[in-house]
């Protein structure tokens, strides 16, 4: 829907223009006429589907697009137009009911969307117009408006930052609701914009809206009176995105460049398309089979009717003349109406009630998820949330799980665990005082314990305190504010200093600063020029901050250059071990490496800290180089990088830190269970590769024996052109290794442990992925993709790091559309996961710390990852079994309901006489047989909940839609046919002599129908009773209740002459039937006979059933055995 809307927003012509020109401060733009005025859309967000005017037609249209609804509509119309055996009310009323209820539900939902839209669109903003501040509604913002945003407000549209209240021309922004990163990002004002925004005359040229959050290219032409136009380039660091929130900055001014549906945020949201479950697809397939059955039945009957009528005397015997109208009708028209009449007569084979029951089952069934107390998390104080009930059964069919890392697998809560200074290990908790601070676990115990490290220790801690980009946020309640998590008070340091919260671009940094704090060095705060720390003697040290050499993923380190009070210029550097070790002296490395490697193995994030003293000349040179590089307009990045690399050499390694992003409670266990259930887990994260990898190890997604295949920028090397070649090489190599060298049986559902081969894990990063997916369009692209997919599918686990939100969705889509269209599930907690949550078959939101975006857009939301296990293994499994049985049973019971009626046509001159009375025809699906199956589909537990939880492998039994494939369908259909034949011909044989009463009186056609119907109701209900494995009192009540109800109803219906009925067809028919011993015996016989095959099957299947149970029970054990054998 969004796409369509967008294309219509861009006029046809607009599309070809690849950049847009914006006049900042439009109101006073004298040069505006010089450019053709481009039309931009307004800042309105539209997520609703209907308006008041188009609701009725559009909604009806959409509803009747469903094959079933359309079918019922046709049947209804036929009944209205043509003289049919049943009255239009029988199908019209249920249809009307279903349509109305659905329309009301959808209307209500759309009303909610309207409300939400309005809330955003009417949000008050301040816009500068002709130098005055004007209050406006958010939707009125136009491209080119200068907008004022205050602290903690979200940006109403995409803005180019013009002016910030901070004196360093920066502002801090958190993009939690966009990409899920809750840290603060620094954005810069456009250089050289005049201080008073009111008098700004500028033109911005920028690219057309595109969804990539991290890309923005533009130019700004600034005109000053009397001066020539200055041109400034604009990058993503100048762009404030709609949806992000301003932090730590009093206010900013920005000029709107993209508005409304063209903002990057809107472009990043895909419309939530209606998700259909596999079961629904199966239903539709079955529906088509039954439709064919129906049409062929009607066709056969019509043909035979005319063949039969051609025989002498059969068309119109003297006792049964046609009416005049009938005689006048055209023969072909009559044939056609006959055909339609048969359709109507047999239409009950596809009952409306099935849809109603399925919907009800889904709706009511989803309550059990909400009610499950195991999903209740005391921390969040909430249980699970079900946003859509359409997908309950899909939870039992998952093959691929895509999970976010931060906040999903991990707690997103960094904790400083230990550090190692000069080879000595410092455990965090034992390091409260100086004296007993050293804990020599495996480090060499030396006598000079206190002396030498003392100095180093302080240096190390100072380094931790200084080398970061952490901000101190003072006097803020430590709480969740506007969806952004400020750092929380950790249990071990409840000192008053903690009232001030740290804000950083990475939670690791906060953990480190806090780690230093527990060791006596507290970072008090910084402004743009200096940093203050309080040392162990409670003295405040002030350092002049000279340069920050920012972190970037290629260097994988960051540095600061500070000047101490004593005038010493120091460079502190921290970074990944791989990037630090080559830059320090060898002998220092060896002492630290042991610790680092051990910590890494534990799954901690390790960082090494090094420092360097800069002499005055050195510093002067570095300073000059840095300034120069920073000011260069071209290749700024590369130049800066070169200088950084040059500066960060010959450092002295002081120590290493270990920070833990704690895994969520029972994350590893959950992952193991899910893998044991045959699901493949992919981790899609925006995080760095190293961290993600360690998390994967910690979650046991990668194991020690797992061979890792890397498809990352690092593995590909530099250079655009070469990359693609290298990528292909790597792909081919991996493909050969993984796919060819392992037996093909390994692919598919079975996890790798089942074969003794090598485990593979794949690591891909975003850049490589985009290279893969956007590879040259000359056909090799799809080849790449295929290779990649094959590799992925044969790997145990796949880790995708550095993913943009849309890339996550792309991955999901790729897997979703691969061969066999496996069912995918996405788990995430942040807004950056929304796209993949929407894309996957089932989207699960974790009620984490990164706002509620994911939860709102998910299909199901759970408080913690560990709940996924029960959600899938128990609820998913049960719901699948329940609904699969429901669907099969429904088709079955209607087949054996209608088949006798079809057979009866052969004996009533193909005259469309219904076998059953109209009341029975209508009530069969509504009252007599609907409740037991509904109760079954809500309460059945063919395997107990605990067993399902304990034996994950049971999940595989229903994998790949096992209960709704053509095999089971065929079985049920055959059963239905068998029953139908038996009912009809059994009673037919009994009726060879209709004198069944002991008084010699005879039975008529309605008694015939009633006997068949009685057998039918009893058989169908008892059949369900035989299938029920879990008899709660409700099942008892409903099953025996509906049988009793049937009998009572029949007494009642036949006991009175109903004044509103034209014919008293059933008057005393049922009671008379009961007074016939033969009828009783026939009913009993036929019920027993029709259930015989089922019982027989149970008896025969039983040994096999026990076997599978044994296998299931043993599986987790045998897994262990297997592994032992492998080692």
């Amino acid at each position: 829907m969004w796409r369509r809307r967008l294309t219509c927003l861009f006029g046809g012509e607009e599309k070809r223009v690849d950049s847009r020109t914006i006049h900042a401060g439009r109101g006073s733009s004298p040069v505006a006429d010089a450019f053709p005025q481009q039309k931009f859309c307004d800042n309105r967000i539209v997520s609703s589907k209907y308006t008041i005017w188009n609701f009725l037609p559009k909604n009806l249209f959409e509803q009747f697009r469903r094959i079933a609804n359309f079918y019922f509509l046709i049947i209804f119309l036929v009944q209205v137009i043509v003289d049919t055996p049943t009255s239009p009310v029988t199908s019209g009323l249920p249809l009307f009911f279903v349509i109305t209820v659905t329309a009301i539900k959808q209307g209500y939902e759309d009303w909610l969307r309207h409300k939400a839209d309005n809330e955003v669109n009417k949000y008050p903003v301040t816009v500068l117009e002709d130098g005055k501040r004007v209050g406006k509604e958010s939707e009125k913002i136009k491209v080119g408006d200068v907008v004022e945003v205050l602290e903690d407000e979200t940006f109403p549209c995409d803005l180019v930052l013009l002016q910030s209240s901070r004196d360093d021309d920066t502002c801090f922004v958190t993009t939690a609701s966009l990409d899920g990163e809750s840290n603060h990002k620094t954005h810069y004002t456009v250089p050289d914009t005049v201080k008073d925004v009111e008098s700004l005359h500028a033109t911005i040229e920028c690219e057309q809206p595109q969804p990539d959050l991290y890309k923005f290219v533009g130019r700004m032409h600034i005109r000053r009176d009397g001066q020539e136009t200055a041109v400034r380039s604009l990058g993503p660091e100048n762009l404030l995105l709609k949806g992000a929130t301003l932090k730590n900055t009093k206010k900013i001014y920005g000029v709107a460049v993209y508005t409304g549906m063209e903002t990057k945020m809107a472009l990043n949201y895909q419309g939530k398309s209606q998700k259909r479950s596999v079961v629904e697809k199966s239903i539709n397939a079955f529906l088509i089979v039954y439709l064919c059955l129906l049409v062929s039945k009607a066709f056969v009957c019509t043909t035979l009717k005319y063949v039969w009528q051609n025989q002498h005397g059969q068309d119109e015997p003297w006792y049964n003349p046609k009416t005049q109208q009938e005689r006048d009708t055209n023969l072909y028209l009559k044939m056609f109406t006959d055909f339609l009449s048969f359709m109507v007569l047999f239409n009950f084979i596809i009952p409306v009630s099935m849809y109603v029951t399925v919907e009800m089952q889904k709706f009511l069934g989803s309550f059990f998820i909400t009610w499950d107390k195991d999903f209740f998390d005391p921390e969040v104080q909430e249980g699970a949330l079900v946003n859509t009930s359409d997908l309950n059964e899909e939870l039992g069919q998952v093959e691929y799980i895509f999970t976010d890392k931060t906040g999903t697998l991990t707690e997103n809560n960094m904790e400083f665990i230990e550090c190692c200074i000069d080879g000595f290990q410092y455990k965090n908790h034992k390091f409260l005082t100086e004296t007993d601070g050293l804990c020599e676990t495996d480090g060499p115990i030396t006598i000079t314990l206190n002396k030498a490290p003392e100095e180093l220790e302080e240096l190390f801690l100072r380094a931790l305190c200084l080398c970061h980009t952490v901000q101190v946020k003072e006097s803020q309640p430590v709480d969740e504010i506007d969806g952004v998590v400020l750092d929380q008070v950790d249990g071990f340091s409840p000192s008053p200093e903690d009232q001030c919260a740290f804000i950083a671009s990475s939670p690791d940094e906060v953990a480190l600063v806090k780690g230093a704090m527990t060791h006596g060095f507290t970072f008090i705060g910084s402004d743009s020029k200096s940093m203050k720390i309080r040392n162990r003697d409670n003295r405040v040290e002030v350092y002049e901050l000279l340069h920050v050499l920012n972190f970037d993923p290629v260097r994988r380190r960051m540095s600061v250059i500070v000047k101490s009070e004593s005038g010493e210029v120091l460079l502190f550097c921290k970074g990944a071990d791989s990037s630090i070790f080559p830059r320090v002296r060898k002998e220092e490395v060896d002492r630290i490496r042991v610790h680092v490697e051990r910590d890494a193995k534990e799954g901690y994030r390790t960082l090494c800290v090094a420092y360097k003293r800069l002499g005055n000349e050195d510093f002067a040179r570095v300073d000059a180089e840095l300034r120069e590089a920073r000011l260069s307009l071209h290749d700024r990045e590369e130049k800066l990088m070169a200088v950084y690399n040059q500066v960060e050499t010959d450092m002295i390694l002081i120590g290493a830190t270990a920070v833990e992003d704690r895994l969520q409670d029972r994350a590893a266990e959950t992952m193991e269970a899910l893998q044991g259930a045959g699901m493949k887990v992919w981790v899609l994260t925006g995080d760095k590769m190293e961290t993600a990898k360690s998390t994967c190890y910690a979650c046991r997604l990668f194991q020690r024996g797992t061979e890792l295949l890397e498809l990352t920028v690092g593995a590909l090397g530099e250079g655009e052109g070469k990359r693609e070649e290298r990528l292909l090489e790597l792909l081919l190599e991996y493909h050969k290794r993984v796919v060819h060298d392992t037996p093909p049986s390994k692919t598919g559902l079975h996890r790798t442990w089942s074969s003794p081969g090598q485990d593979y894990g794949l690591i891909v990063d975003g850049a490589t992925l985009s290279l893969l997916l956007n590879a040259s369009p000359d056909g090799t692209g799809s080849h790449y993709k295929n290779l990649f997919l094959k590799i992925c599918q044969s790997c145990t686990s796949v880790l995708c790091c550095r993913m943009a939100p849309l890339q996550k969705a792309q991955i999901v889509r790729m897997v979703k559309s691969s061969k066999g269209s496996p069912i995918t599930l996405s788990v995430g907690d942040g807004a950056n996961d929304v796209s993949m949550i929407l894309e996957a078959h089932v989207g699960i939101g974790i009620k984490g710390k990164e706002g509620r975006q994911a939860v709102r857009n998910s299909d199901y939301a759970i408080p913690k990852l560990k709940h996924l296990k029960k959600l899938l293994l128990v609820h998913g499994h049960l719901y699948y079994v329940r609904i699969a049985h429901l669907v099969q049973y429904f088709f079955y019971k209607n087949l054996c309901f209608i088949l006798p009626q079809f057979l009866y046509q052969f004996y009533c001159g193909y005259s469309q006489l219904p076998l059953y009375d109209a009341a029975y025809l209508t009530m069969y699906n509504i009252c007599f047989t609907s409740m037991p199956i509904l109760a079954y589909s809500l309460f059945e537990q063919h395997i107990s909940i605990d067993t399902l939880l304990d034996h994950a492998a049971l999940y595989r039994e229903v994998a790949k839609n096992a209960m709704l494939r053509w095999g089971p369908f065929f079985y049920w259909t055959m059963l239905g046919v068998f029953h139908g034949l038996l009912f009809f011909f059994g009673v037919y044989c009994v009726f060879s002599n209709p004198a069944l009463l002991p008084s010699g009186q005879v039975f008529g056609n309605w008694t015939f129908g009633t006997i068949v119907f009685t057998i039918l109701v009893f058989t169908v209900t008892i059949k369900l009773a035989l299938d029920t494995r879990h008899w709660t009192w409700i099942n008892h009540f409903v099953i025996w209740g509906s049988l009793a109800f049937y009998i009572l109803f029949s007494f009642f219906w036949g006991g009175i002459t109903w004044p509103f009925l034209e014919q008293q067809r059933l008057y005393f028919v049922f009671i008379n039937m009961l007074s016939s011993m033969s009828a009783w015996l026939a009913i009993m016989l036929l019920i027993v006979l029709s259930l015989l095959p089922d019982v027989l099957l149970v008896a025969l299947r039983r040994p096999r059933g026990r076997n599978t149970r044994q296998i299931a029970a043993v599986t987790p054990l045998s897994y262990k055995h297997l592994k032992e054998r492998e080692w």
Binding site: V120, Y319, G986, P994, Q1001, V1002, N1005, F1068, S1078
Partner: protein, 369 residues
Amino acid sequence: MASGYSAKEEDGHHSGALGPAGGAAVRSRKPDNTAFKQQRLPAWQPILTAGTVLPAFFIIGLLFIPIGIGLYVTSNNIRELQIDYTGTESSSPCFACSQNYSWNMTTPCVCSVSFSLDQPFESNVFMYYGLSNFYQNHRRYVKSRDDSQLNGNLNSLKEPSKECEPYRTNDGKPIAPCGAIANSLFNDTLALYYNDPNGTETQIQLVKRGIAWWTDKHVKFRNPVGDDSNLTAIFQGTAKPVNWQKPVYELDSDPENNGFINEDLIVWMRTAALPTFRKLYRIIEKNSSTSPTLPRGNYTLKITYNYPVRSFEGRKRMILSTISWMGGKNPFLGIAYITVGSICFFLGVVLLIIHHKYGSRSSSADLTH
């Protein structure tokens, strides 16, 4: 269902609502720990195994076989005699009648068929007429009646239902009873004579009461009640059905069996299930405890042949039958019961053997593991 993308979310303003104030409301979200909500209702969990199913097979077998034998014997003990008097074959005594048939014959065509009973019919004997290839269950036919008229509704008497077309009115007068079913009322008269060995012919008393369902006769069908108790007066202004020779109020001399509550009419109005059917015509009551109702010997069936079936290749039969507790003669049920019972018993035995063998093998397999 969540909206496409909840625009509300963008600002994140609402999150503030989840402050401490919402705490109380939040706390109540903890799901109730009831057995129902936790899907832990106490439940009976029957496991159908060969062990539990096997006895069922034997029980069914042991139950059904005696029932079947009982039914079979009962059915066999029922005496039944069928005489086809359609008269399509030239040798048939009713050949002439069936050939020269026209609706408005002034003198009825009578034919008589002789037959003999080899065995006496004890107890009450029921006389049926049977029709074949007569589609009483044709939809057009089944619809063509007005139950409200037959129930004595005066409005319907004057204004019959549209369903009765084309037998709704005749010459502007409403037909009573209207519709094709009533119009085609079976109107052959059957009379049974016993040919005494001494040459005399005794007519056997045929009872015409008690052939219809009690409820039909007393509730569903009722004569219209007017100011006059005279049926003729009440039916004034209505026409007789086109094919009838007499109007409805002259069907029988007995006022309790006349008009709409004439049992022949009621029986006919209960449409048959299949194109070959029989309907109860008369009852021959056993009048002495010593002699059989119909002793062994020769009989003559005299038919007043009014009912044409040749045009649609139908057949007409007269059936004499005794009745047991299970109704008329029908060996099917007995045979079916015996068959099903035997199958069950046989399956039970087979399963027992399989189960025994398999069970021991699987347990030994368990041991080897």
